[in-house]
Symmetry: C2
Subunit: 285 residues, 2 copies
């Protein structure tokens, strides 16, 4: 392969992948190369624009550390994250819908007992959260593990505060034997995704705002059920119709009710998708 | 925009770009989003695969510093760099062809006089390099600036040697009044692109070798001419037909001749593409 031009180079790169042993990797890489080349040809990418792209990716890489994930943020604001969620979460009607994971989940958040306050010092208006975890047939999912995380009244997650090195407004809880859960936290408010980096510059250059509507993140896991990664959004929040990461589902929006004492309460019932069960007998299909 | 699914999310992201003030940026971003989404839909990207991609880009970013550019390397081995070169260098017949820039150019390399040895301590078999720089009509390009760089006999550029902090086997020279140049250096040998990082893992997983055929890099600049970024390849080098970055052009391969004393000599005549000239008079088209 010599003298490749803008038309035949794509096939040469595809040919170079011929010895890929993993067929799925070969499929993904081949599709990636085709679409990447089609993009460059379609816009007639200049060398200066190519180099801007290199610089952009480099800046994203240098911004990323154990507390900041600029590539997930990039994927989020380009709609790739929500597209991937949509491609992989075609759940039966009645199941709680999924939405984006986002860049702010932390592994091994502290465990709390039902009724505890997970705010752990995070500032905000108190909010009581409760609900149930059930399966698609209405059965309670006893002991379902709920991993919950949210931002504070400044719109920042704990990991975004330089001075804070312990978990705030995030925690792991277990539903009781009837699938019920409840805990205390703070009221979620709309916030801006981190926009002091290259992704923020991209949003500005494309005339986009960096806001997300108010929400609380949930990841719910239980044996026999598909893991659910989702948010509960706050009704009447600003930006429900222009979420910068395209994550809002009407079915995930609920009323967060102000109480006489000024605190809030939010209740949401989750429905998990059962995993396909193993054949029950020798003759089962 | 709520309740987006795998089919309508692309239009929602495109709509979000509506306020982009720079029309070229809007064109590029819109094409990028369409192709990125088409790729994900075509392969039915799983969430685990998406996360592998995030991890891969993060690793590329963390590998990149002022001496190592993993994103350029990635672009090179995916053929994107050479495609961009091809899209932007449709020169008239007779002009020297362009090829990839590569990740090893260094700004402000030392200046040398014609006849100097640019090896500056780099190890290798001595090699004398000479030639001319002319324009498309055969006119000599007096004072053309030649920026030259190459690897040593281990196949490493100076910036890849941890112990070396000065320029070796790279330099800037000026052609004389007749467009001629000559300098001493070392013999180029085939080498492996850096493959101890994520791009190396990708090459291995796709069954590809990391080798490039022997070559010497040139960037040639002169007022009134298009800048030429190219290599001269060594005839009969291994990997001329399987260059990992797809950069070989037959017209850039020449004989590097062994001399009686064991040194080598290589001569190459470059032809630059004149820039379109300004209208010559008031009535000119």
């Amino acid at each position: 392969m010599q003298n490749l031009n803008a038309n035949n180079i794509t096939q040469a790169v595809l040919d170079s992948l011929a010895s890929t042993s993993d067929p799925r990797l070969k499929e993904i890489m081949s599709s990636l190369v085709r679409h990447l080349h089609d993009f460059a040809r379609e816009v007639n990418l200049t060398e200066a624009e190519w180099f801007k792209g290199i610089e952009f990716l480099t800046a994203c890489g240098h911004m990323t550390d154990d507390k900041r994930q600029e590539f997930i943020l990039l994927s989020d604001v380009l709609g790739l994250s929500m597209l991937t969620v949509a491609l992989n979460n075609d759940k039966p009607a009645g199941c709680t819908e999924a939405t984006v994971f986002g860049p702010f989940h932390v592994e091994s958040a502290p465990e709390y007992a039902l009724g505890d306050n997970i705010a752990n010092g995070a500032k905000g208006v108190p909010c009581h959260v409760s609900g149930t975890v059930r399966g698609l047939s209405g059965e309670p999912v006893a002991g379902a593990v709920l991993d919950v995380w949210q931002s504070d009244d400044e719109g920042l997650y704990d990991v975004q505060h330089p001075g804070i090195d312990h978990a705030q407004a995030r925690g792991v809880l277990r539903a009781d034997a009837t699938g019920r859960f409840h805990f205390r936290s703070i009221l979620a408010v709309p916030y801006q995704v981190p926009h002091d980096g290259p992704v923020g510059q991209m949003l500005e250059a494309t005339g986009r705002h960096p806001w997300r509507p108010a929400h609380l993140h949930f990841m719910i896991q239980a044996p026999g059920y598909e893991t659910l990664i989702t948010h509960v959004f706050r009704d009447r929040s600003a930006y429900l119709d222009s979420d910068v990461v395209f994550g809002v589902r009407e079915s995930l929006v609920c009323d967060w009710t102000e109480q006489p004492d000024g605190s809030y309460a939010m209740a949401f019932d989750f429905v998990l998708n059962p995993l396909p069960s193993a054949p029950k007998g020798a003759g089962a299909a």
